[in-house]
């Protein structure tokens, strides 16, 4: 994705994030059984802002908004699992491509994942990576789920990657 398209897509996400109803997000997660300690820390994540030029980007809200989409698109996943899987996959994808966001995110998200205690194996051992490296792959539902999550986050990661040089605090 080139920088101009990335910026355009980011602005579109930003305008959607402006109308993101945080209380509906909170209500949905609480009613699904997520503890309020997790929910409030996700909300803290949602308050993070970065800048592209003079335009503030609600990067945290964008991530929350997309995370909620992931939860809604996978109703058969336990919500805690969906949150942990979704966020862990995103962090894994960002941390090497955009350490600037990746490390910041992992600092917030890792404890969330730890609290939810999701059995996520190393991303290094992920099936796709294994196949790419010519390694034998096992028949793992977890790896399939990681594939789903990776596909889900690909667009967001591509957008962040395209504009990474312009993103600043």
């Amino acid at each position: 994705m080139d920088k101009v398209k990335g910026k355009m897509d980011l602005l579109i996400l930003e305008s959607k994030a402006s109308s993101f109803d945080e209380i509906d997000f909170v209500t949905d997660l609480i009613n699904k059984g997520v503890s309020k300690e997790i929910v409030t820390r996700l909300q803290l994540l949602g308050s993070q802002i970065k800048y592209v030029g003079n335009q503030s980007i609600k990067i945290g809200k964008i991530i929350l908004m997309k995370l909620w989409d992931f939860i809604k698109e996978n109703p058969n996943l336990a919500v805690g699992f969906a949150i942990g899987l979704g966020l862990a996959t995103l962090v894994g994808m960002l941390i090497s491509v955009i350490p600037f966001i990746g490390v910041w995110l992992s600092g917030i998200i890792t404890p969330i994942i730890a609290i939810i205690t999701i059995p996520i194996g190393t991303l290094k051992g992920h099936r796709l990576d294994k196949v790419a490296n010519g390694e034998p792959v096992s028949d793992s539902i977890l790896e399939d789920l990681i594939t789903i999550a990776k596909k889900f986050w690909t667009l967001i990661v591509d957008i962040f990657t395209a504009v990474k040089e312009e993103l600043r605090d």
């Binding site: 909170v26 300690e37 941390i95 992992s106």
Partner: protein, 274 residues
């Protein structure tokens, strides 16, 4: 589940224990971070409390069991530091999260209020919409004018007129039209005769139907005057002589008892209005 029920359920869950339990752990200083910290917090968040443990060691012992079952591994340099730092952040963010919880409670209460108002307004809107439909029928039957209907609806919306009274009155008026219709069908032969007589006096025959409704609502019809034999063309007088409903009713009441349309018309001619 409706939106209102969802908000109320979420509020009940949050208000049950509004304090941030992880923050409490941080303050107590039991946890220092790392996977142990994460799993310990998991125990708390999962429903256990620190109050059930007499020593930190035993508490850590329990969490170790939880941690062993479900490890978290993240690839990347600094992941270990991130975990440790992250958990410390987690523990120290308790007060921020307490504030967030308070805001969530306030926002949920606002949302609940908004939903309740929406429900109330939509039920009010349904009723006003039904009443508007009845008024449209009454306008079509020339029983009320558009201006009157509009004024009534505005006053109802401003709570100056009681909705229930306005609705019942409108329904009564509409039903009285229907009841008269039935009677008109029964006496069609007599009405035909009356119509012929009215034509002789060049009075619009369409209006006698409307006027008979007025008779039932505005004045007491003398028994000697049979409603079906007496056509009081209020509409005719309203259009041609600018008489209001009240004025016409007054005119009619002041007329002597008459037993035929001919007599009535003759009496009317005695007034300067003809």
């Amino acid at each position: 589940m409706t939106k209102l029920e969802e908000y109320e359920q979420a509020l009940r869950k949050i208000e049950k224990n509004p304090n941030d339990r992880i923050g409490i752990l941080g303050k107590v200083g039991i946890l220092t971070g790392g996977v142990f910290g994460g799993a310990a917090v998991a125990t708390v968040v999962g429903g256990g409390t620190i109050w059930g443990f007499t020593t930190a060691a035993s508490w850590i012992g329990v969490t170790l069991v939880s941690a062993a079952a479900l490890p978290v591994v993240l690839v990347g340099a600094g992941a270990g530091l991130a975990i440790a730092g992250g958990v410390a952040y987690f523990l120290n963010s308790g007060s921020k999260c307490d504030l967030m919880t308070t805001q969530n409670i306030q926002n949920l209460k606002k949302k609940i209020e908004e939903e309740k108002n929406k429900l109330k307004n939509s039920s009010d809107e349904d009723r006003i919409s039904k009443l508007s439909g009845i008024y449209a029928n009454l306008i079509h039957l020339n029983l009320i004018t558009e201006d009157i209907a509009e004024e009534l609806l505005q006053n109802i919306a401003d709570n100056k007129i009681n909705f229930d009274l306005a609705y019942e009155t409108a329904l009564e008026l509409l039903h009285s039209v229907e009841s008269i219709k039935e009677e008109d069908i029964k006496i069609s032969e007599e009405l035909n005769l009356i119509t012929e007589k009215l034509k002789a006096y060049n009075i619009d025959t369409k209006v006698f139907y409307r006027v008979s409704i007025l008779l039932t609502h505005t004045i007491n019809v003398d028994d000697s005057i049979k409603r079906e034999e007496l056509v009081v063309c209020h509409k005719y007088f309203e259009e041609n002589y600018k008489l209001t409903q009240k004025e016409f009713a007054t005119l009619f009441v002041n007329l002597p008892t008459i037993d035929s349309i001919e007599t009535f018309i003759e009496e009317l001619f005695k007034f300067d209005i003809m």
